[in-house]
Amino acid sequence: MNSLRRIMDIHAVEPSDSVLDRLRERLAAWLCAHAPVAVGYSGGVDSAYLAVAARSTLGPDGVLAIIGRSPSYPAVQWETAREVARRFDVRVLELDTEEVDDPRYAANPSNRCYFCKSELWGKLVPVARAHGFANVIDGTNADDLTDWRPGAQAAHEHGVASPLAQLGFTKLHIREASRLLGLPTWQQPSSPCLSSRLPYGVAVTRERLRQVERAESALRALGIAGDLRVRYHEEVARVELGAAELPRWLDPVRFTALRDAVVGTGFERVALDLRGFRSGSLNVLHGVST
């Protein structure tokens, strides 16, 4: 609970029990009205909650969690996804997506996410329907609606519903509801795709994605917890740490260890972002959002 309080101190006020109860009741009603459902499942905070809530509400045959394995996600993400599904008895199906091979995606335009989600839903929705799941849902939440999310258009075009956003679940509501369900993801940092570490216009390649993945993994191995991003600026890695971590890594000895860990993954230079982690940081740098 202390960890949740720290998250809440940073992000917002604590959701009241009555608000959360009402949201959970509305979600259960929504799921019953749309059952059975297939969930686009990444093992992240939102989709894990949605899949487990659907399993809890609809039973084992009422939900199918479908993982779209993408090169733009770290391998550890899929391990988490499988583990959560196994623990909560959620049926899982896995398929591969190849958006990196789409030149429109690889060129890394500001609407890159549209091409990624077009690939994902273009494969996932037919597979779900072939398994008898006419309704496909995703874990988009109400906070996401305030950010630049071109991928939402692709979901709309493929008829994918976003009940958490529709019903008003914020990230904080989802974390607290996840904690109450016993989900290990309740305090997991948000985990957008690795392509989000590359500035728009810098080509997305498998090698660059793996380079960022290696760098973030090396920093986790140093014991860095919470939000963490390695932003790709060619030979420079710009490291964004959470507010709780940043001061101690500005200690010269720790800073040296951090730099050496990242340099070992293929970057030549390492910079610590002085403000620390911010979601959509490269959107700000490129004027897509403020």
């Binding site: 500005l250 200690d251 800073f255």
Partner: protein, 93 residues
Amino acid sequence: MTGPERGDRTGRNATSLAAAIAELGIHCSLEVRGGLALLLPVPASVEKLQDPETRRAILALAREHGFTHVGIELPSDRRGAEARDADAPLLRD
């Protein structure tokens, strides 16, 4: 390398930013990458960055000078020597 006044159409001014940061007691070279200001402080200045007030002041100065992000690069021994030997600010663009 000291540079000419680096104001541009975006309103970014690296020379002025480096001078303003030096007034906080943080001596560094400065490299501009679009909206990102990369600071390379001399080793003696790195510890001062642990002070949250100093960090806030640098971020505010960077915003005033047109930058959206500030990165701190820990100098290697070679780079640190370069920075110490030069008249700050050192600009690399």
